[in-house]
Symmetry: none
């Protein structure tokens, strides 16, 4: 199957939104085993949208479209697709009922525009949208398939995962099996060097390295007649890779390091609290992004000022003036402080220089100290992060906090 990823929306053409949907969907197609021929983006213009769809169908039998399903005048994707497929756009009573119930539930007044969201090409199959008011749909005619989903990623991604991927997996010619290895403390280019000969020799299984969220991953995929064949081919390659970089692999199941730590804390009924300076609450946010965090996470104290470090965590004025706020000593006192204040089993702390200002030759931007107090035993760890801006230094610092927990708790039992 050959596919075009089609994005609809004038705001994309203005460059005011980064098109992350296209990258996400392309990765998914690779995994399913569908070839992506084109990415195309058009504004909310029916004529140009129509021409793009027709052009895509010259080479492709599948179009995955996102955007233009909203309630406003310029959302014309449905009408244009119906036009290309020679369909009428008609109200779908079930969808109208769902939409009315939604507006009633939240006591919101339904505008005439909103009614449009219950209209679809007459032979469309609906793709439910639990995260928004615009359902998606699929439509097929003469071996041409189109799947049309809303543009916001928090609506599109769940819709794709629940309804679209299973359908495409069924239709893909062959069975794709893959494993994603998560790799710690080995940059993407070092990782690639280690397995370069395998990458260069690849036909099936394929190997690809990615960098995401300050970590490296290695994806090994095989597409065969049966799942058993594909699985065997992948596992053989995983064994080869394990020989090369075994100690760096922390998950063969594509599980994030924060998830592994969280699961460990839950299973061992351990509680955690944190004291943050340079990350300014990012660690607490990352922990509590996860539903059920309250079972393991008690509190975080974001001590952005020195005064707050003293008052909230009992860091001593002497330590602060002798070593500075960004020091192993302060990180350790912060960790002990949050451990004692919270009564949690584990206290973790961080202090560092996120930049862009505040660095010096001795303590450059990117320097962080992580303190850890497990049942009264205190340690600290120093890292010089090489990320290029404040946001990525803070993000990478949070990943390093999870790595410290992983190494000192999960591995070092």
């Amino acid at each position: 199957m050959k596919c075009t990823i089609l994005s609809v929306g004038t705001e994309l053409l203005f460059g005011s939104i980064l098109n992350t949907n296209t990258a996400y969907l392309s990765q998914q197609m690779v995994q399913i085993g569908i070839d992506v021929m084109y990415h195309m983006t058009v504004g909310d213009n029916p004529q140009r949208l129509k021409e793009m769809i027709q052009h895509a169908y010259k080479d492709c039998d599948l179009i995955i479209a996102t955007g233009g399903l909203g309630p406003t005048q310029d959302d014309l994707t449905k009408e244009t697709i119906a036009d290309v497929f020679g369909e009428r756009v008609v109200p779908f009573p079930d969808q109208l009922a769902i939409l009315q119930a939604h507006f009633k539930k939240y006591n919101r007044v339904m505008s005439d525009n909103n009614l449009k969201q219950a209209n679809f090409p007459e032979h469309a199959s609906i793709l439910p949208n639990p995260n928004g008011t615009a359902p998606g749909f699929m439509l097929e005619k003469e071996e041409k398939l189109i799947i049309s989903m809303p543009g916001p990623p928090n609506e599109m991604i769940p819709m794709f995962e629940q309804h679209v991927r299973p359908l495409l997996e069924q239709r893909s010619d062959g069975v794709l099996y893959y494993k994603t290895l998560r790799v710690m403390e080995l940059g993407e280019s070092m990782l690639e060097t280690q397995v370069m000969d395998l990458i260069e020799a690849q036909t099936d299984p394929t190997l690809a390295t990615y960098a995401s969220n300050y970590e490296s991953t290695l994806r090994i995929a095989s597409k065969r007649k049966t799942r058993a064949e594909a699985e065997q081919a992948v596992e053989q390659m995983v064994a080869l890779v394990r020989e090369r970089i075994g100690p760096y692999i922390y998950s063969e199941e594509d599980e994030s390091i924060s998830s592994i730590v969280f699961r460990y804390l839950n299973e061992h009924r351990l509680t955690l609290s944190s004291a943050e300076s340079c990350t300014g609450g990012s660690f607490a946010k990352a922990v509590t992004d996860r539903p059920g965090a309250s079972a393991v996470f008690d509190r975080s104290i974001v001590t952005y000022s020195n005064r707050a470090k003293v008052e909230e965590l009992g860091v001593s004025e002497e330590t602060l003036s002798a070593h500075g706020a960004v020091s192993a000593e302060v990180a350790e006192e912060m960790a002990r402080g949050i451990y004692e204040v919270s009564g949690s089993d584990i206290g973790i702390s961080i202090t560092g220089i996120a930049g862009p200002d505040g660095g010096s030759e001795e303590k450059p931007v990117g320097l962080v100290y992580i303190g850890l107090c497990i049942r009264g035993r205190v340690q600290s760890f120093r890292y010089q992060l090489r990320n290029s801006n404040r946001q990525s230094i803070r993000g990478n610092a949070v990943v390093h906090m999870f790595r410290v927990l992983y190494r000192e708790l999960v591995i070092d039992k």
Copy 2:
């Protein structure tokens, strides 16, 4: 002038690289006043690339292409462009000399593939590349212009800024001026209803509504002969829009509400601390994402457990058991608590149900209470957020905290 942004590279179709060039170039085109009709991405396939170029020239007189200029076998952009324009590809002696000097300087051996990088369509004008070995070029024939640049952003962006933008600014037929209005407490579809007649009647200035980061924006743009004319047209339309939705507009300069609040605190030398429950540090993170936050932000206490609320903020056990953790009373005690503990001028708090679990009929998922203590005076605000998942409830809750600060501080002076 009408333009297509064309990206060449199979790696983009795999989704392993996010296409940031396209967003960058689109923003640049908006600024210069060139209309972007399409974004297109093709792999390293001459036939499909050729068809894409031909399709683009149906509607456009300008193509800005990136990628496919490298030394490897599959870099075929130059050959394909030459083919479309009916040109031969020939060695450019000056470029060959530059290339040879480069390899000599770094003591690198030049492969036959590298020689390719000195070949160009015979009537091409070279765009120098001080940051890499692949120069770009432009080629024009029969009122069709193509500009071809290398793919890596650190090579493409300087090339664009130094050589391409000045050229395009000269050729742009008119000057674009626009304003982006930020709108509070008015959803995208309600916003559009308010200005529907203006949107429907639009030719120039144009109006478009967007939703981003839980807020709505309205962009008003005009392209005229002179900047003064465009500015006047936009300002007239802004005045009309102001009549309709004036009280909802909080910025006419595309400034975010957090930035306005931050600026206000800085200008008035006020300090802020926060106490967070359901947002779990997200508010503190949002404040400290900004460099220089330490001037206004003292601390945040993330009291995820009830015990932490009592111990850190002095919330009373009685209030917790009488009203529950998610209540106006607890929000107010949290706000007073963080105000007193921190000694900041302003204490803000939040408690709520981020879900997916933990909701009830009386207190459904999405219910949040925001407490505010300004110099000892305590208030609270109740919101039923309608976002559909934990992440967006938390994100929207943070925006509501900034809105409370905006209304109670910036407006209500």
